[in-house]
């Protein structure tokens, strides 16, 4: 590992922390334009987080220490996840600590802690949200794992940077199987990040909420960390998508030039701009599903992933 690899690692985590709220801001802006509304500023998520950090935290009288611990665990998991995902370079010193399966485990840890915290205060909506989040989670997790399995079969590795590098450096080969799993991945991304059609990030109608219902009791710095963590989660998912399906542009190889590393930052920015507008488009043209249609939605994702796997095993491509 050269110092450049450590530099890549460092820049990558910082970039994730800084760009995640910006990415959410960009999606909100696109969505507002598509819906003929006047758009909020790109920096609006930052302002929200900053405002929350300044406020006094209000805790429910019966909240346990678990409730206060959870935002830090969730945030910490998301930062570590950002360190594993090859968004700028594929030779990350930290990536040996956790492969793609451990990455999925990291997301699961965050989800479990968030759900436990939601049940901690003991209000009706909190446990409702926890139950629904775990429902979406247990359906989405196998689908995500199948997507990763297919990519790791192609690259004969479960390490995400190795997969990404394998896909990026080989001569442009078309994998029909990846097309199927690409669809599956987008469906999982929508469900896992509380986007329409499974959940609505902008809703404040208690009966339809999943993600927001879990955060009802949080305020101030805890809420800020939770909001930042969910922005990071969306950013991480987008970067997993790039690593699997658009792996070009990241710094690869044992000794990448500093120039490639520098060039990879605007390339990542362009990818995020494109992904954000596509997400906003999907969210604008689709309607929110009833909660019990969510299993069908995610079963579709799972079947697409399995189909991709079968296509790969049948055709070898």
């Amino acid at each position: 590992m050269t110092s450049l690899h450590w530099l890549t690692q460092f820049i990558e985590v910082l970039a994730a922390l800084a760009a995640a709220p910006l990415f959410v801001g960009w999606i909100n802006q696109c969505r507002a334009w598509l819906q003929n509304k006047s758009a909020p500023s790109l920096l609006q998520p930052y302002r929200g987080i900053r405002k929350l950090f300044h406020k006094d935290a209000v805790l429910a009288t019966q909240a346990s220490p678990l409730f206060r611990l959870a935002p830090y665990v969730v945030f910490g998991s998301m930062v570590c996840a950002a360190a594993v995902i090859p968004s700028l370079g594929t030779r990350l010193p930290f990536s040996d600590a956790a492969d793609a399966i451990a990455l999925v485990g990291l997301f699961a840890t965050a989800r479990v802690f968030m759900s436990l915290a939601a049940m901690d205060v003991g209000t009706a909506f909190g446990s409702l949200g926890a139950r629904r989040e775990m429902l979406v989670g247990f359906l989405a997790e196998p689908a995500l794992l199948m997507v990763i399995f297919l990519a790791s079969l192609i690259a004969t590795s479960t390490s995400l940077p190795a997969i990404s590098e394998g896909l990026a450096t080989q001569t442009l080969a078309l994998y029909p199987s990846l097309a199927f799993t690409g669809v599956a991945f987008v469906l999982v991304l929508l469900a896992e990040n509380a986007r329409i059609p499974v959940d609505n990030p902008a809703t404040h109608l208690e009966l339809t909420m999943i993600h927001e219902a879990m955060l009802l009791e949080y305020s101030a710095r805890h809420l800020a960390l939770m909001e930042w963590a969910s922005a990071l989660k969306l950013f991480n998912y987008a970067c997993i998508g790039f690593a699997l399906f658009l792996p070009w542009g990241a710094a690869t190889g044992d000794a990448p030039a500093l120039a490639t590393l520098l060039a990879s930052i605007p390339i990542l920015g362009l990818k995020l701009l494109a992904a954000g507008s596509v997400l906003a488009l999907i969210e604008t043209v689709s309607a929110k599903l009833r909660i019990f249609r969510a299993p069908e939605f995610l079963a579709t994702a799972f079947l697409f992933a399995v189909l991709g796997l079968l296509v790969h095993l049948l055709l070898g491509a």
Binding site: F53, Y72, G76, C80, A97, A98, T123, M134, P142, S157
Partner: protein, 633 residues
């Protein structure tokens, strides 16, 4: 007295565990005990496979015994002295099962294990439900034992020598080998709780006192796994590859079935019992995978699958014992097993709550705890299954990874329900305010098991280095590829996959500490307490929290076909609305009740023979004698 005997038992367990770890690398040792029937001494043998399970037995029972010292007290049911005897007899017989080197010694200790555990399960024998649960357990245990006995009978291969050495050297025709394997799978599957032979498990585990449930689930189920491994990889020698497909199919189905039922339970010990069924499914899937790999000559992967199985067995012993003991403390503190009457105990019993949380997170398969490591290894083995040179099978096997992933994700759902409903939220009953935390002996037991979960999760390389000796000693593989460094887990090849839990944990903890530090440095740490937000409805109370039934409702909805469900729903006009849902097991009504009816019918038909007159019975003897003479002459 129990304050002395149980800690002594725990000490013996610790010594056993230490001896097992030291002896694992040694070559096999043998001993012939001159007890038993004349000319039929008991053979004992300790090899690496025995050592692993002896470690499991010793280490898990050390925690359970020290907990038991604080837990068991005089009351209803069996007297404490007798209970202590039964408990240690149970432990000793499990040890002998793991050491036996002939069918005779194995079956005797196997039966001792079944009987002593039967008496432990029926400790509260004045309650009719517990008596019938114990009877069901005894019945299925004996059906299994008969199958195991028959399997040994097939494996001696005409030599009529019942030592395991004779079975190792016997050569069986492929058909007979398959028969022996199926009988062993039935027998050990019945003991382990493989679907459809699982019905005793959710009845017997809740019936027993909690330390006994912990032993049953954490340790005794693993003796069945030990038997399966011993027969398949040692006594039968070279298994045919397609045998493995049967345990894979049964195991995957068992895993899903167990976890789906666990999600629908409202009794905390039944929930854990179904979760044990899930884990047994995962274990048998791994066994099947190891057989398939070995049969087609992919020895390294076979060893990997076997290591995953052994690792998961040890992990499950720690996690499940921890959870069962946690429910025991809750049961003592509140007198409630029903999830719907618990809640908010993290404030009253912080020790039990936080230690149980470790167990719950571990069994949910979350990194960096131990449950994740073994599932990760199993998934790595599954990911290579597409290289099996058998068409169709190589396409179906990777889908098994999807089922394992689904089971693991559902296990997280179950554990959020388990922990959230018992320990979080507000107390659902007024009596819970009087709940007290566990005593110091109980805490030590819980702490030991929780520390085991953490240590097994953080040091996989060291554990695997020891476990790798088993496939080597069984002759499956020459030598496992060794790890590159002590903190870095690399199962097969360098850049293919890696996992370093210690780095992982340090990274997360460091991030958390930095975040806490930065937030308080840049902003402030002020906070105040207030009532929770009630959405404008001012009379929010503890009864409005989600119940255990409510938390399981999405699962009942999605996996409707699994359940035999009876529901009584209120109409909008009911003055006294009444809601009742009973979730039953389809296997119970479709197999067991029919079988029972059929047995009853046959018994009634045979009862015609019983005329009740001496002369008739003498006539029967006479006819039998004539027939036998006619056959012989």
């Amino acid at each position: 007295m129990r304050r002395v005997l149980f800690p002594l038992g725990a000490l013996a367990g610790l010594c056993l565990a230490a001896a097992a770890v030291i002896s694992i690398a040694l070559p096999a040792e043998k001993l012939v005990l001159p007890i038993g029937l004349p000319d039929l001494p008991i053979h004992l043998r300790r090899d690496a496979l025995s050592s692993v399970f002896l470690f499991l037995l010793g280490a898990a029972s050390a925690g359970i015994s020290i907990f038991g010292a604080g837990y068991f007290r005089a009351g209803e049911g069996t007297a404490p002295g007798l209970l202590c005897l039964q408990y240690h007899l149970f432990l000793a017989s499990m040890g002998f099962v793991l050491l036996a080197d002939d069918a005779y010694g194995f079956m005797v200790s196997w039966e001792m294990m079944a009987l002593s555990s039967y008496f432990l399960v029926t400790t509260q024998h004045r309650i009719p439900e517990i008596r019938s649960a114990g009877f069901l357990y005894l019945l299925i245990a004996h059906l299994g034992a008969i199958a195991i006995l028959l399997s040994f009978g097939v494996m001696q291969g005409g030599s009529w020598q019942f030592t395991f050495d004779a079975m190792r050297s016997a050569t069986l025709a492929p058909t007979w080998a398959a028969v022996a394997f199926s009988l062993a799978l039935f027998g050990f599957g019945a003991k382990a709780g493989l679907v459809p032979l699982h019905v005793w498990l959710p009845e017997a585990h809740p019936a027993a006192p909690s330390p006994v449930s912990a032993l049953l689930s954490g340790v005794m189920l693993k003796t069945a796994l030990y038997g399966m491994l011993r027969v398949t990889f040692d006594l039968l020698g070279a298994p045919t590859w397609w045998w493995g497909l049967i345990p894979i199919a049964l195991g995957l189905f068992t895993a899903i079935y167990g976890v789906v039922f666990a999600a629908a339970q409202t009794d905390m010990k039944r929930l854990l019992a179904f979760s044990s069924i899930e884990n047994i499914g995962i274990l048998f899937t791994g066994v099947g995978l190891a057989i398939v790999f070995l049969g087609v000559g992919m020895t390294t992967l076979s060893a990997l699958a076997l290591i995953a199985v052994l690792y998961h067995a040890i992990n499950h012993a720690f996690m499940k014992s921890l959870l069962f003991l946690g429910t025991g403390s809750v049961l003592h503190a509140t007198g409630e097993r029903n999830l719907g009457r618990l809640g908010g105990l993290i404030h009253r019993m912080p020790w039990v709550a936080w230690l149980t949380l470790i167990g719950a997170l571990a069994i949910a398969g979350l990194p960096p705890l131990n449950g994740f490591v073994s599932e990760w290894l199993l998934l790595q083995a599954f990911l290579s299954a597409h290289e099996v040179p058998r068409s169709f099978v190589n396409m179906l096997l990777p889908l098994g990874a999807a089922v394992i992933a689904l089971a693991a994700a559902l296990a997280a759902y179950v554990m959020v329900k388990f922990f959230g409903v018992i320990f979080l939220g507000q107390p659902r009953e007024a009596g819970l305010a009087k709940a007290h935390d566990a005593g110091w002996l109980e805490r030590v037991g819980l702490l030991w098991l929780a520390a085991g979960c953490v240590a097994l999760g953080l040091m996989p390389t060291q554990v695997i280095a020891l476990l790798a000796l088993i496939p080597e000693q069984l002759g499956i593989v020459e030598a496992m590829p060794t790890a590159s460094s002590w903190w870095h887990l690399v199962p097969v090849s360098g850049r293919a996959a890696a996992y370093a839990p210690l780095v992982f944990l340090i990274a997360i903890v460091a991030t958390i500490i930095i975040t806490v530090g930065l937030v308080s440095l840049l902003y402030h740490r002020r906070s105040r307490r207030s009532a929770p937000w009630d959405c404008g409805f001012a009379r929010l109370d503890a009864r409005m929290q989600d119940t255990a039934e409510g938390f399981g409702q999405p699962i009942r909805h999605i996996f409707l076909q699994f359940f035999d469900m009876q529901r009584e729903l209120p109409t909008p006009f009911d003055r006294a609305p009444h809601y009742r849902v009973v979730v039953g097991d389809r296997f119970w009504s479709s197999i067991y009740l029919r079988l029972a009816k059929w047995v009853q019918r046959v018994a009634e038909a045979v009862a015609w023979l019983q005329q009740g007159r001496i002369a008739t019975y003498l006539l029967y003897s006479f006819i039998t004698l004539i027939v036998l003479l006619a056959l012989v002459l």
